[in-house]
């Protein structure tokens, strides 16, 4: 499970990707802290942001995890959120980014 995932990203936005990924790692920490306080609205908002931006940066998995987490927050399902945040952390740990000039014109 620790194999690296090589993700090709649009070269036009490659410089933005490290900060985007660092912010998602911070999101995981925020979700864990909110979970400890049963603050499901904070989790929903964080997950909503993940859902919105993940695909555009070339990480549809982050959008999928965000969407699932948002729905779980609506249902106040702490167990499901714990699983999802662990998946997010594992996914982030495996990512290796490769800028792809060919994506510049195709999105």
């Amino acid at each position: 499970m620790s194999d690296k995932l090589i993700i090709s990203v649009d070269a036009q936005i490659a410089a933005l990707v490290p900060r985007f990924l660092a912010n998602r790692a911070a999101d995981a920490g925020k979700v864990r802290a909110a979970l400890a306080n049963a603050d499901f609205e904070a989790i929903r908002l964080t997950a909503h942001g993940m859902k919105g931006a993940g695909g555009g940066y070339g990480f549809p998995e982050i959008s999928r995890l965000g969407a699932s987490m948002e729905e779980s927050a609506r249902q106040r399902d702490a167990a499901a959120i714990s699983v999802l945040v662990a998946r997010l952390e594992e996914y982030l740990a495996r990512i290796e980014v490769k800028p792809d000039p060919g994506q510049g014109s195709t999105g």
């Binding site: 919105g52 931006a53 555009g56 999105g107």
Partner: protein, 233 residues
């Protein structure tokens, strides 16, 4: 084009601005509606991209403000995660020209922006053929302006400025907008440079009331080139 973006998610704003810049547009991002409104009072933009859910004033409220306070029909594209039919209807009936649901795709976003721009400013593209403006004609392939058939000698920057003003007849254009369009967003040029060049092309192209044109400075804002109806051929 000069585009104002209302988006409170920094990652999303950075992404959209990167796409817009790579496509040749300039992007000015605002996290709060009040900041965008303040900018729109002193600056001109070719298009607004509004996120619905932002802190404080919502994108929908900013849209109402834009339609009530900006005289020109600047295109507005809503960009948001809301996708219920009633939300879409609300945005479009409130004055938005188009609507996109997140997550955004780069190609679709740029295609919709181009389509909105074509609808807002119909006519030939600025890089195609010869554009006619009464006694003036602009040959875009040769990058020349002629007055009564005689080519007017001018620098490339003067040509670009003349073309930009002629393509935007009737619009109040801020100095910063003109600077970005002619010299580029990163150019370190004083806005007084704009005044100098405007003055020069006013003389060279005879953009004066007796020739059917009014090129006026608007205090603390910029310039507006207008066609005077009585003198138009």
């Amino acid at each position: 084009m000069r585009i104002a973006l209302l988006e409170d998610e920094q990652d999303q704003a950075d992404l959209v601005c990167a796409w817009l810049k790579a496509a040749g547009h300039s992007c000015h991002a605002y996290a709060l509606g009040k900041d965008l409104m303040r900018a729109a009072q002193r600056e001109s933009f070719d298009m607004f991209l509004l996120d619905w859910q932002v802190p404080g004033m919502s994108g929908a409220e900013v849209l109402v403000w834009i339609r009530a306070n900006i005289a020109e029909p600047v295109p507005v594209l809503f960009v948001t995660a809301r996708q219920r039919e009633e939300d879409i209807v609300h945005a479009l009936s409130g004055g938005a020209d188009d609507y996109m649901v997140k997550p955004l795709g780069k190609r679709e976003l740029l295609a919709r922006i181009d389509a909105l721009a074509r609808r807002a400013r119909p006519g030939p593209r600025a890089d195609e053929g010869v554009l006619e403006y009464g006694r003036l004609s602009v040959d875009c392939s040769r990058r020349q302006v002629s007055l009564d058939g005689a080519v007017v000698t001018m620098t490339q920057k003067d040509y670009e400025l003349a073309l930009f003003l002629l393509r935007n007849v009737g619009r109040l254009l801020s100095r910063a907008h003109i600077l970005e369009a002619v010299w580029g967003q990163s150019a370190e040029i004083n806005t007084r440079t704009v005044d100098t060049h405007v003055s020069r092309i006013r003389g060279k192209l005879q953009l004066t009331p007796e020739n059917g044109w009014s090129l006026t400075a608007v205090y603390q804002h910029g310039y507006r080139l207008e066609r005077l109806a009585a003198a138009a051929p």
